[in-house]
Symmetry: C2
Subunit: 319 residues, 2 copies
């Protein structure tokens, strides 16, 4: 019997408030449950994919169009450049994250696939190669390379993407205050990343450029110095949120409700429609999540809420 590897990759918040395209966080539910896709892989005579899980029915009917097999195609190509033969694989996908939700669903499928292959094949890739492949696979969905979901889903943590070699980016871990709770609420509607990108302008006025850069740099500084005043002031999205707010029904009301409930900050998760709010502890997080859900209810949207911390581990093989 062939060995089966099952790899888990957590949900994530891309565009983490101040960090449009540059900062993302892996999510770990406080109740200890897993929240992310799981990909199983074993060597086989032909490559196949079997999708299960609560969101499997929303997958493309043609399995070769699924991100698991499309990601595996990158793995094959990368192995070929290393002159390593690539076996055929039988994949399973437990699709636990809803697509177009702002929860890093595609990143989770991609990263779980890569990690399953990496382990099954004896770790042929460096961490940096895995991240590059993940970025290329993510671009199949969003149209260009963005690492703010795949990097945290792979490495864990709250990550800042910093300049790497030759115009590339690479992740660095930021010190997230572990006592804080992130209330993540997913209203039951979809918003495609492509549509959310479409409302972003190609050019920005200089005053806005400086405000964005200042806010991000100050947020990073606040994390390192535990400067709560600046942390709270900069836990916001001055760039994308003003342009995307109207794409998410009830967002502004939900955000107001979160802030009235004492959240330290509240913004879109990724490009939405999910939103996240930062609270001071579990009890406070429950209150904030309830306020957000009530606001979505008012516009007729059911929603799902989870209280999370930042997942320090990232993608991993399940026993």
């Amino acid at each position: 019997m062939s060995l089966t590897i099952r790899a888990y990759a957590p949900a994530s918040i891309g565009n983490f408030a101040a960090g449009f395209d540059l900062m993302g966080a892996a999510l770990a539910p406080l109740d200890g449950s897993l929240w992310g896709d799981v990909v199983g892989a074993k060597k086989a005579s032909t490559t196949t994919l079997l999708a299960t899980g609560p969101y499997a029915h929303l997958m493309p009917p043609d399995p070769t169009q699924n991100l698991v097999l499309r990601t595996f195609a990158f793995v094959k190509d990368a192995l070929a450049t290393k002159d390593i033969p690539c076996p055929e694989m039988a994949f399973t996908l437990e699709k636990n994250l809803p697509r177009s939700s702002g929860l890093g669903s595609s990143a989770s499928s991609i990263v779980a696939t890569l990690v399953a292959c990496q382990i099954l094949l004896g770790e042929p890739f460096t961490r940096s190669e895995l991240l590059q492949m993940a970025g290329r696979a993510e671009s199949l969905v969003s149209g260009s390379v963005h690492l703010d979901n795949v990097a945290p889903s792979l490495h864990g943590g709250l990550l800042l993407l910093v300049p790497g070699e030759g115009g590339s980016s690479k992740p660095r871990a930021l010190p997230w205050p572990s006592e804080l709770v992130i209330a993540v609420v997913h209203p039951h509607c979809e918003l495609s990343t492509e549509k959310a990108r479409h409302v972003m302008p190609n050019q920005l006025p200089m005053a806005e450029v400086l405000a964005f850069a200042q806010n991000l740099a100050a947020f990073v500084h606040a994390l390192h110095t535990k400067d709560q005043e600046i942390f709270v002031r900069c836990l916001r999205d001055v760039l994308a949120e003003p342009r995307r707010a109207e794409l998410v029904p009830g967002f502004r009301a939900a955000q107001k409700a979160a802030m009235r409930a004492g959240a330290l900050g509240c913004s879109l998760s990724g490009s939405g429609p999910s939103i996240f709010a930062v609270a001071e502890g579990t009890e406070h997080g429950e209150k904030v999540a309830a306020a957000i859900q009530e606001a979505f209810n008012t516009v007729g949207l059911a929603s799902e809420a989870r209280l999370c911390g930042v997942d320090p581990l990232g993608a991993r093989v399940l026993p």
Copy 2:
């Protein structure tokens, strides 16, 4: 005899590499000398200004047009809002910094004036009020409020301007590695801040926005984590320098010479024409400064070089 207060405010590097408009450093020559303007103030029957020092002859002939008296006008107004009577003052200005040099010359005159008044008048102002006045006075020269010279000249340190109340900015100290040496070279030519601002565009493409914000945030992160790889990669100006380089004769050659001499980074000081390069220790700093000066010589520019650290004190009263 009336008490005389003499206040010193150090030279400074605005637009500190990665931090266009948002980061600045106060300078302290390694040889222990002072490098900045000194303003003397004492109560008098009429307000007067006597300018001395190596650059006094370049001051406006009408003393009321000098920044010392224009800054004093802000002091008078601010005292009036507090219902505090303002005496007439006899000022002296030792003008030690050349104007339009990129060394924070106007900030130095402004801040020294404010600190002399603050001490002579029994500290009527908060630090925040002093900074606000300094910003308004600086805008007389540059056309709008910029704090990246006045804030470090007042407070000392390498400062990041972070978001304050209602769209304002306020300074936060960054942890500059004190073992590093800053070679500052002032070629004998002038470049008005206004002219240097004129070449900056009103709008920026999104890719450049992200590159600028990423570079600044990563630089701040590198300072806090002592990540030398990222520090070196991000000790650069991706925003203003490409547009201003051609305004400074010999800048590109001087920068290349500095990097060939092993500088960790080299960019314009403020809007130029002075440039600064970061070196690893005094001996290395001397080598880097010599390389820069030789490059300026090649284009027919004499220059002055100083090896500096970051001045942790900022403006202060002299004995």
